[in-house]
Subunit: 495 residues, 2 copies
């Protein structure tokens, strides 16, 4: 009545905008992980299926009103991953069986006490068992694996022992209820297992690999971010190969999610242990080893978190000359450890033994650390201004620690590879690849006197456009000789 | 038959040992948090109470078999904290009501399609609603607050619309079920609220305060741990005031639990928002501000985590002389920030505005930073061995960052104090306390030339055994003058 057309249009417009924004959020949620849409449809399917117990007369005649337990079971048991569904289903089944048997026993025992005594004895039983079971849920181990089972145990025991007091045909009731629960549970497990299954184990596997990759992204991008000089004199901006400039920052900051990944990793590992053999994962796959790698990765992420604090220019005036001196080594340490991590991540992802190149990268990083230490040992300080070098010194120190962490991650991955029998892929590393890795990776500066005797080194010029055998040769004999390529494409071999 | 007495004794012995170890674990679990035992007894009580619906004939005649829903509700809804119980109870109530109404509507609508059409239409409804609701559970906001409600919605809608197909007296059924669920829910809420309630809000409040305290413990102990010299020449072992030596290490390492506290803090804050006014906490208490303080605390814990890496002697040969030069300042920075944190923690715990002494400690820490910077700026390096000072330089840098974090925590606590109306306690800081704080806190070394003109400073000797007014005076005029006490009990005032 009092609403003008304009107001109507405005109201409809704002409604439309809201609707559109909600629709967009729904779309994004689905696009981020399409498994969510499939899961929703699977739940709908399972529920519709158990409804058949009601609709189809022969089935309804068999089960009667108890069919609601099938519906109830499906709604409560069907979870996102196969592991969670199996865990809940088995917990529910075992809890129901155990509590049902105990409940019938308790009911029989209580009936010995006569008309007046029976409810009192039953009440005491319910009280004691409920209290004890509830307390047991505080045990971390029971909490992690059997929490739902204990809940169902309390529930069923109370229901059976209490309703036994009124319902005469308790065994028939128990039989009906158990079979409907079985039908509900089996429906869930079947649909969850055979229609686009979402495996907790696979999710954990991919999460661990992608977490390592996030750290690799950061480390590879760090050198370019940190060593930017503000004065226009020399604008050194190092290109990032792995992320386009517009999403560079967000790509680097992705490591932050690793800091808080512990609880989700632990629950995934727990669920994964309920899952049967699937895809590349056999039953008894070493899921605990993933947790170990995950916690080492998180440790490394903490270090990166403190490293990240120094990318933003500090209020302390930086000693530029010192920074220039450590630049090459620091860049090499960070990018080499990043590369090592990337190889480890892809090794986990593809379940192939990490090629020796990850070890090579770690060795390169260690060589760069030695260079850095050498620089620091031999170098005198131009301005005797220790304050200005403090942030850079810290960065050096954290980088050195990061290499240690990377080495630990590498060892843990090797262990995983052994216990999960990763395929060996030594043969697939082509000479081309090795030379490319060498090219990209090693940018250590060479200092005079580093090779002990000055005469003892050979300079080899590598042709950038031609992946010739020379580089391959060097890659192979690296174990015996101390190979030190410079950033200019020269390689110095110390005998 | 074949079992000797000895074997019997051995078997019984091992059983006894196992039983004893289990009993000890149970005892420990109860001792760690006695609220767990009380909670278990409360659950037992609630279950026994709703069993009355069965035992007591007048009640049974009213509800009949539907009374099992009360038992079911109690088992599922009763949670450890009041907030969780209320959240589950309200979710269950609302979900049931909404889904019940929709279910009855859907059933009526479907009946329009005749004998054959009805189950098909109902099936489609169940499928669509189940799929849509399941998908909505992936929205982070719905997941956090209404996950259980949506589950109950799916459950009830399926039950009502499906069983409506067979049961004629659907409204009576719905009425019975709703009233029993109400009785169950009310029992839970009543017992949870009025018998030794466990408040999620209070737990969050105490967790945040004790987390800050853990960091304070570390920082106060750090100086003594780090500055221990290995060579027998000078065994400087600083006594730790706050922890006895035998549990010193475990006390210091307590901060590690802060690293992974995010998820529990978030869930507590979420539950706390469901709770009514209780104790010192009004309805609408700024629980989100606790999360902010918690995340700043965690940030600080990350820094302490990297600091902790340097307490274990590194493989780099340390430049002892450099370490001795920074020792006093570093100890001061770390202990002063520790003290500031301790005051903030107790301010949160007691809900009193942090006395200005926390600010004073932060200022002291900043003064120590200035001293440190001064040392670093003016100092020449004895051996020109930069490598040896790297770990110490890093420690300095991290300590400087920690002071920044502490300041942020202090600001966030102030904000909490304002929005939660903490009591002001300025008047309760006695002069004695101030002087004591000065005594214990400030151990900055004074360097020549620090006060600009060498003649401009006054040395005051403070008598340690007598808290005389002199010190109090100095405490008061600190705002205008630059007070620099030395470790020997002298105080130098720079005009």
């Amino acid at each position: 009545m009092g609403i003008s057309d304009e107001q109507k249009v405005g109201f409809l417009g704002s409604c439309k905008r809201k609707l559109i924004s909600v629709m967009e959020r729904i779309k994004k949620l689905g696009r981020d992980d399409p498994r969510r849409i499939i899961h929703s449809l699977k739940v709908g399917l399972a529920l519709t299926f158990v409804s058949l117990l009601y609709y189809w007369r022969p089935l309804y005649d068999g089960f009667g009103i108890a069919a609601i337990w099938a519906v109830l079971t499906v709604v409560v048991v069907f979870e996102f991953t196969v592991g969670a569904t199996l865990s809940k289903g088995l917990n529910r089944g075992l809890g129901t069986l155990l509590a049902g048997a105990l409940g019938v026993g308790a009911q029989h025992f209580a009936s010995l006490f006569g008309q007046t005594g029976e409810p009192i004895v039953l009440g005491i039983f319910v009280f004691l068992l409920a209290a004890a079971s509830t307390f047991s849920r505080f045990f971390p181990r029971i909490k992690a694996r059997y929490d739902y089972g204990v809940l169902i145990f309390i529930l069923t025991f109370s229901l059976v022992s209490v309703s036994g007091y009124r319902v005469e045909k308790i065994l028939e009731l128990a039989h009906q209820r158990l079979s409907t629960i079985l039908i509900g549970g089996a429906t869930c497990v079947f649909i969850s297992l055979f229609i686009c299954p979402v495996w907790a184990g696979e999710t954990l596997h991919n999460t661990i690999a992608s977490n390592i990759e996030k750290l690799a992204n950061y480390l590879e991008g760090f050198g370019g971010e940190y060593f930017q000089y503000e004065d226009g004199e020399e604008n050194i901006i190092v290109e990032d190969h792995h992320s386009k400039s517009h999403n560079k920052l967000s790509c680097l900051q992705a490591y932050k999610s690793v800091l808080t990944s512990q609880s989700s990793e632990e629950s995934l590992a727990n669920l994964a242990s309920w899952e049967p053999r699937h895809g590349k994962f056999s039953f008894g796959h070493p899921w605990k080893q993933y947790l170990k790698i995950g916690s080492l990765t998180r440790q490394c992420a903490y270090q990166i978190e403190s490293l990240n604090g120094y990318v933003i220019p500090a209020d302390i005036q930086v000693a530029i000359q010192f920074r220039r001196r450590i630049e090459e080594s620091c860049k090499a340490i960070s990018s080499e450890s990043g590369k090592a991590l990337r190889i480890l991540a892809s090794s986990i992802k593809t379940m192939k033994s990490p090629s020796s190149s990850s070890k090579t990268h770690i060795e390169n990083a260690k060589a760069a650390i030695d260079d850095l230490k050498h620089t620091l040992k031999s170098g005198y300080l131009e301005s005797s201004d220790l304050l200005g070098i403090i942030p850079d010194a810290t960065v050096c120190c954290i980088l050195i620690d990061i290499v240690k962490s990377v080495e630990k991650i590498s060892e843990a991955t090797d262990e995983l590879g052994r216990s999960a029998r990763f395929k060996s892929v030594e043969a697939t590393v082509s000479p081309e690849k090795t030379s490319q890795l060498l090219h990209r990776g090693i940018v250590n500066p060479v200092f005079e006197g580093e090779c002990g005797d000055g005469d003892d080194h050979v300079v080899i010029r590598v042709n950038d456009n031609n992946n010739n055998n020379e580089v391959d040769e060097i890659g192979k004999c690296q174990g015996n000789l101390d190979v030190k390529p410079t950033s200019k494409g020269e390689i110095i071999v110390c005998k």
